[in-house]
Structures are given as structure tokens and as C-alpha cells.
Amino acid sequence: MNLFTKSKSEEDKLIEGCIAGKRDMQRLLYDLYSKKMMAVCLRYAPTNFEAEDIMQEAFVKVFTNLQNFKKDCPLEFWIRKIMVNTALKHLRSKQLLTVSHEAEEVTNLSDTANLSEYSLDELMSMIQSLAPRYRMVFNLYAIEGYNHKEIGEMLGISEGTSKSQYSRARAILQGMLTRQEKNYNEHVISN
């Protein structure tokens, strides 16, 4: 269910109810966005438990700061931004954003990939297996849609560093996909 399918007035009523502290309205908002936001948190967090911690903290921020929502962007986008920033803060506090050496093991591979053959859980596992910093840059660039200049400003790194880290993350994922495909083909041939 998506709020975009709901009328504007209903969304306004929902927001007003949440600002007024009505718990049933807050629960409704949570039910509307919890699944999507859980997927967002899972992409940034290494485990399900930490993803739920991030989501819990982020939703509390959503409800306590909803009066600051200016309606100049979709509510889902605003909530997603809070999820992402909370995830960044969470990972910083956990000291998880350390440089990995995985990038040394891979090289640029072809840009051909067909992800339709992979389940969502498989794709999520691939992303979660990335080192935290690579995972962060990959999520921000490939999925959230930021460019490297903005990612650099967000994370306090240079644009070049962001590009470099993304390149390594991308190569790691391509390597995973290639290995998975190779294993799959070998399995099919052996059978």
C-alpha cells in the first residue's frame, strides 16, 4: 500500500494525527511505511537486528519531528532520508566504517548483469556482505541516486574517494554475481 494512492487530504489528516500524538495514527503511518523502510535499513545494516535498531530510532525521529515536514517533497522520501541518516549515524557510532582490502582482490568486470535471476534475499545478502564503507557508497549511489559529489559531502570525504570506493564496491558485487553465475552453470551442467 502506498500513500501516493491516497488522497492528499487523507495524508494530511494522517500527518496531523501523528503530530497530535495520536497513537493509532502513528501506528497507521508505521504500517504504511515499515516494510519499505525495513528494506532500506537492511541495505545499510550488516544484520537484521541492527536494521531493526536503526528503524526503531528512525521512526521515533519521524514522529517527534513530523511537524518540521514542510511538504515540499513526498512524505516517503522524507522518511527514507531519516532512515538513511540514522543508519549513517548508527554505523559511525559502531565504528563499522573501516577501510576494507577486498577491493584489492577484484578488477573491473563487464557491465552486463541480469539480476532478474536472483531473489531479493540473495541481492540483499550480496550488499550486506560488502564492507560497511563500500556498502554505504554503493547504496547511496546505485540505489538512492546520489552523485559522488554529494556523497562526498554527506560522508565527509572527497568526491574522488567516493568514486574510488564505489568502483571497488561495484567490482566486488560483479565478482559475486559472476561467481554465482559460474557456480549455477556448473551445477546445471553437472546435473
Binding site: 522520501f77 541518516n85 557491465d111 558485487l173
Partner: protein
Amino acid sequence: MSSATNEKRGHLEDEFQRRMHDAEASPSPDLWARIDHDLTIQESKHYKGRMVLYRQLAAACFVLFMLAGALLTYNYNSKQSIDAGIAAMQLKTEPGGATEDIATVEDAPANAFNSVSGLPKQGQNSATAIPEKTNEHVVEKAAHASESINQTAIAGANNSVSKSINAGAVTNYTSSPGVGANAGADYSINRVAASEPTAAAVSLSSFSKSDGASLGTSSSSLFEMGRPYFQTARQAITSVPAAYLNSADQGRARSLVELSKTAVSDYLDKQTKAEEVVAITLNTTPSESKNEEEAAKDNRWSVGVGYAPSYFNQNIQMPGQMMGTVSRFSLLAGGPNKTDQTSDNMNEARDEFEANTDPAFSYAAEVKAGFKLFKKIKLLAGVGFTQNTARTKSSYIINQFVYKPGTEERVAMPGTTVFLPSLNNNFTTDSLSVNKTDDFTVNYRYRHITLPVGLQYDGNIGKDWFWYAAGGVAANFLIETTVMASTNEVKDVSYGHNDDSPFRKMQFSGNVSAGFGKRISNLVSVTAGPEFRGYLNSLLAEPDKALAPQGNPYTIGINMSVNYNLGMNK
């Protein structure tokens, strides 16, 4: 080369975004319960914060209410308090006098009755014995106050008339003016034969004029005792049997009329003398004393209008390293890439704010009611309005951005300066950049409604000139905060009273001032002098959460006021 390096999205990115952007995953069922618990805790904290505010408001209202009630009570009871105070003062200067006077008045009926009731038994000769006995009693009791003797005699007479109705003779005790308490009362006794032998009325009154010394020590008591004195004389007249009044002896009736006239005139005379003594005590003439008493009663209230242009220091500083503080939340804290152009500009903007923030024209306007607690101390309370302003000459603009997912649409937040971001953390901002532009001015304006209460002490310098010193506290309610820039690139920000703003909604302040005043007339006076007003809290509601260190703001200005005394003659 990857697509990332070329700033172009490749097939892999599109595939991941298509599959992952709108992906869904189910959280654990108990997650909402945890969020609900956290929200409850947050609301509890918020509720406690509001309760603190309400408690402060309730305390302020209670204090104001009690002050107003005390003032009203004091005002309505002022005359009685003055009289009681003077009486108490006289009691202290006359040890045991008044107490004994009262005791004498209470004991007098019995004494007089006893003495008069003995008349029939003692016959004619007893008439002389009675006043002597009474005189002894009076002299004994009136060692300190001669008027108590009179009270004793008069009160006793009233009682004696009713009690000695069967005495067979009417004994009228009238006194000739005595020489004073020390000399005792000089009684002349007129024994009048009753027209009805079985009825007798004894009217005893003794009026002795006291000397000045005696009045000087018991004048207030006399003043207060005048009323029962007069009433007793009237009762004495009405208590006379009708048979006696109907008798043909006009001389006896005239004697009673004269008696009452004497009582009235003597009462008035004593009242005048009492006023004279009060006037002597206060070192004024009787007429002046009366005028001052009326003036003190009428002149207690005043109203005033004040205006105070001032210098305002908002006392908001910048963090030591603005960009360093931002980087504290970044991934590369302390890393080699943090000193880029934005970082340099941010630090320059911070330095510029520190160096170029100056006070601007600020003012306070108040309407106050004054109530004189004492001759020179006045309680002031009222309502006012303050507008405090500061100004920064700046040349740096901070732009913040957010990006819509999937579309790469860059949404720019309204431009701002280094001031507002230093007050809080915009966790929804994706990025920021600091750019240098032409010089522009940023004004910070804080408007408060104030409820001041304080004390003012006045001291005379000359006939028309006086000095004053005042101090007090005020509750200040923030009604508007505005940050205005002279360039269109920076958006003006305004917070109303009900808006969610980082600034404190209500704060207390203390103020002290001193200066000189001039009485233009009996009604109007003007004052002027320096005033310091210090706020007891910082401007921010949660200064601990702000990047910038917060101090308590203050103002220094000149207070000018016009006061109008109520109830005085021109």
C-alpha cells in the same frame, strides 16, 4: 572504467535500483511495541518539560496574586493601621497606662455602683464620703491617665442610676474642671431631692481637664476613648427616670442638658487636643498632619510609562572549528580529505560571524503601576514589550541540498548563514556547501512580552529633584524570532510564538537601574538613568544540543519614564 567514474549509471546500477529501491521486508512483530515505548518516554520528557514551564508560570502568578492581595489589604487598612500604630506607640511610652485605663473602665460600674448604693444607708453625710471614696479610687487608678478617671465616673454613673433607683434621693455628681490627673478629680456634689421619694437617680459625671503633659502621654488613648465617653453621657441622660424629667424643676432638666452639652463640647475639645498631640508627635501642624494623612492615602498609587533604548548582546558564539564539528559526524573524521573549499569557507564564515556581529537598535517599552509601600519605597508591576536586535555583516552563504532518489533531482534547501546551522543539527540535509558572495547584513530580532515586577527607592535631592534606584525581575514570553538578510539568496526565517523553534519560549530576566528624576508638578515626574537587564537563561531552549556555545544575553540601556501620581491635587 566504471560508470561511477564517468558519472554515468550503467546497467548494473539500474538493475540494482529497480530491484532494491522499492523492495520490502517485514520487520519483527514487536518492533512497533519498542517504538511505542520510546515514544511514550519521549512524551513523558516533553510533558515534564512543559510541567516545569507551567510550574514556573503558576509560581509567578501566585507571587503576583499574593502581592496584589497584600497591597489591597494594606491599602484598605492603612488608616486603621496608622491609628493602631500610633496607639501602640503611645502605649509603649506610657507603661501600663492604657491597660489600666481599660481595666478601670471595666471595673468602674461596679465601683461606682458600690459607692452610690451606699448612699441611703449613709444619708446626707454619706454624700461627701462617696466622692471621696470615688476620688480615692480614681486617684489610685488614674496615676498615669487622668481621663480614665472620667471614664470610670461616667460609666459608673450610668450603672448607678439604674441600680440606686430606690435610694430615695437623686444624687447628681457634677465635676468642676480639675487641674489634672495628679491633682485628682475635684468633685462637687449636688444632691437633689427626688419628686418621688422612692425613686432616686444618681448621675455622676466627672470631667476634668488634663494638663498638657497628661495629654501628651495619652492623647491617642483619649482620642479612641472619646466615643464611649460620649455615648455614656447620652446614656446617662436617657437613663434618667421620666418622673424626674417631668418634674417642674427646670433647673434639673437644664442641668442634664448642660451636662450633655458639656460632654459633647468636652469630647470635641479632647479630640482637637488629641490631634494636636499627634501633630506635635509627628512634628507638624495639625492641619499639615491631616493633609499628609489624606495625601498618603490618596498618593499611594501611580502609573508610569517607560522607554529604554539599549545595547543587546545575544551572547551566541560560534564553535571553535565549525567544519571540524561537522566532520565529527562524518565518515572521515580526522581524515586527510576534510580540508576542502567548503571547510575553509565554513571556518572563514565562523570567524566572520565572531568578528562582525554587533548590537543593533533595541528597546523596551513598559507600562507600570506603582504602589508606595513606604514613604520612599514603591512596588512596581506592569506589562511591557521588548525588541532586542543584533546584526552580522556577512559574505558567506550556506547552501544545503537533498536529492530525490532515483531521479537525481537535486533539491536545494533555502540558503542560510552560519548562524542557524550552528543552533541545531539538520539531520535531513544530505550535503552543504559554503560560498563567498558580496557583503550583506543579517539581522536577528527577538520580540518578547514582559511581565515585570520590582521595587524602586526614591531619595530627595532638592525640592524638585530626586534620585532613584530600582531592581526587579520579569517573565519574558517570546512572541517572535526573526533572522532577516539583506540579500535574496538567504531566506528570511521567522518563528512565531506557536512555531517549533530552537529558541526558548519563556525566560526570566533581572534588571537593575538607577538615575535621577524631576518633579514637573505634584502629578507628573520624569526619570532617566542607565539600566542593566540580564536574562537568566540562554536564548536557545536546549543550549546543550547546539553546536555553538550559548551564553546568557543581556542589555544595557537608558531607561526613561514618565510617572503620574494618582489622587493628588494639582
